[in-house]
Subunit: 346 residues, 2 copies
Amino acid sequence: MGGDFGPHCIVPASLDCLAETPSLHLALVGQTSVLEELISRYGRVDSARLKIVDADEVVEMDERPTQALRGKPRSSMRVALELVRDGHAQACVSAGNTGALMALARHVLKTLPGIDRPAMATAMPTRKGSCLLLDLGANVDCTAEQLYQFGVMGSVAAQSLGVAQPRVALLNVGIEAIKGNQQVKAAAVLLQQAVDLDYSGFIEGDGLFRGEADVVVCDGFVGNTLLKSTEGLAQLVSSRVEALCRRSLFSRLMGVLALPLLRQLRADMSPAQYNGASFLGLQGIVVKSHGSAGREDFRAAIRRAAEDVRHNLPEQLHSRLERLLATDQSTDGGIDVTTVDGMPSN
Amino acid sequence: MGGDFGPHCIVPASLDCLAETPSLHLALVGQTSVLEELISRYGRVDSARLKIVDADEVVEMDERPTQALRGKPRSSMRVALELVRDGHAQACVSAGNTGALMALARHVLKTLPGIDRPAMATAMPTRKGSCLLLDLGANVDCTAEQLYQFGVMGSVAAQSLGVAQPRVALLNVGIEAIKGNQQVKAAAVLLQQAVDLDYSGFIEGDGLFRGEADVVVCDGFVGNTLLKSTEGLAQLVSSRVEALCRRSLFSRLMGVLALPLLRQLRADMSPAQYNGASFLGLQGIVVKSHGSAGREDFRAAIRRAAEDVRHNLPEQLHSRLERLLATDQSTDGGIDVTTVDGMPSN
C-alpha cells in the first residue's frame, strides 16, 4: 500500500514479474477490495501464483516509526514482514515509509547475531560496472563499530553478487589517513584488522564512480545524500540534453539523430536500473523500493528480492558473520585512534 | 606551490588572467627560481601587474594542518595569507592542502565576529542556474549553531552574487520535520527563527539539482561527498557517452554528428565551470581551487576571487552578520528539540 503511487504501481509491476518469471509466487498484502479491483483492471491472473493477504491498516509516508510500531498491528507493512517471519514468504518488498519499514523489520524479524542495526545497500553504477553502497539512510548517525559491521556485511553481499574478493572502502573526505571524522578513522582501524576482508582504505565520491571499490561504506546521512544527488544530477543531465537539442535547427537535427544514443545513456544511468535496496543484517530478506518508484522501478525491486532469495543472503551473512566477528572479537579493546584535526583534500 | 600540478598550472593560468583582465594585479608567492623559469617559459609579462614574492617553504598535500601551522613560517601559503592580512593583496587563491589552508587562514586572518569556523562554499549547477553549497569539507563535524551560521553566511554570499532574496535550505535525508540527525533538526529551529533570512526547510540531493534553493547548507563531510560524487558522476557520464559512440559504425557516425552537443553538455557540467570555493567567515578573501585543478580550472578560481573582491564580500558579511546574529542572540537559550528516531524517506 506504500510509496507515492501505492498499489496503482505495485499491482501492475507484480503482474509483470509473475508473467516474466514462472517460478515466482507473490502475495499482495493490503486492502483486499483495492487490490482486487486493480488486479482485475490490469490483467489475467494465474491465481495459483498470486494471492491477496488482507491488511486493513496503512503506514503513512510521513508517520513516525514509533507510531507504526505501536499503533498499527494490522498495517500492510507489518503483516508482510510477519509472512516472512512465519515462513509463508521468503522476502518482503515495500515502497513505503523507510523508517517505519526499518523499525518494523527489526522488531518482527530481528537482526543477525553480532549486528547492532541493519543497513540499506544498493548497487551504484561505476565505470567498471557497479559497486555496493551502504548505508543508504537507515542510520543517520553511525559508530565506528557499525561502519565496520556494514563493511563486513557489504563484503558478504558483494560475494553473493558474484565478486570473488570484494574490495571494501570507507567513504571519506580524502584518502589520506589523517582525513575524516573520528568514526571513520576508528572504523578504518577495525576494517584493517578484519580477517578475510579486503579493505582498500578511504575512497572519495569520484573514486566510487571510477569503480575503485566493490563495496563503499558510509553512514546513512552521507549515503542517502550521495544516492539522491546521483538521481538529481542524472535528471539534470537529461534536462540539459533536451534543452541543447531544442536550441537550434541544427542542434535539433543532431538531437534527433543522436536520440538512440542519448536514450541508451539515460537507461544506463537511470535509478530504475539500480532500484531496490536490500536491508542487510536482518534474519530475513527485506527490499526497499524507492518511494517515488514507478512500475518499472518496482519490478526491479521485486527482481532484487528474488535474487537475494536465490543467494540465500541472510543465511550466507549469518555464517560469514559468525566467523568474521568471532575472529575480530579479540581486537575490540585495542583500538587507539589519535585525535587529529582531519580535513579533506579539496 | 600547491595542488597536484603546482606552479606548472598556476603560472600559465595567472598569465591568462592578467591578459584577460587589465585591472588585475597578481603576486605569485613561492620559490622565486621556479616561478621565474615558468613565467619566462609561458610568455611575455606585464611586469607592472605581476610580481613574485619569495617563500621558500611548501606545505605538502598530505601534511597535517598543525604541522603547517607550527613548523613552516615561510610557506607560500602562509606568506600569501599575510599579504592579505597586511593589505598588500585583496585575496589569496590556493590549490594546496585544504586543511592547512583553513588552519593558516584562521590563524593569520581570523574569523569574523560571531563566526566559530569558516565554511567553504561553491556554486553548484542546477536546472534553474546554480545554487551555493556549503560547507564543502572545511568542517567534518558541525554543531547546529555552525550550520545556522553557514546558512546566514550563505544567504549573504548569494545576495552578493545577485540573488535578491536567497532561499536557504538545510540538506537532509528527507524533507519531513521528523527526518535527520540532531544537529540538522536543531539548526532548522535556529534558521526558522532567523530574522531577514528566507529559510525554506529541508532539501534532499535531488532537490538541490532541481534548483529548489539558492543556498544549501550541510556539514563538510556531506558537502564534500556531494561535490566529489557530482564530479565522479559527470566523468562517468562522459565515459559512457564515449563508449556508446564507439559501439557501432552507426553509433560512431551519430557520435561524430552529436559531438558539438555532447561537448557543450560536458562544458556545462564541468567542475571547472564551478571551480573555486570561497572561504566564508574570515576577515579576508581566500579562494580554494581544486587540488587537481588544471590551467582552465585555476583561471576560474582567480576569477572567483576577483568577484569576491568586487563585491567586498567579507565587509558585506560582517555588517549583515552583526545585524542578524545580534537579533538572534536572544533565541540562543530557547532551543528545544525533541529527540526522535529520524529516518530518511527513501
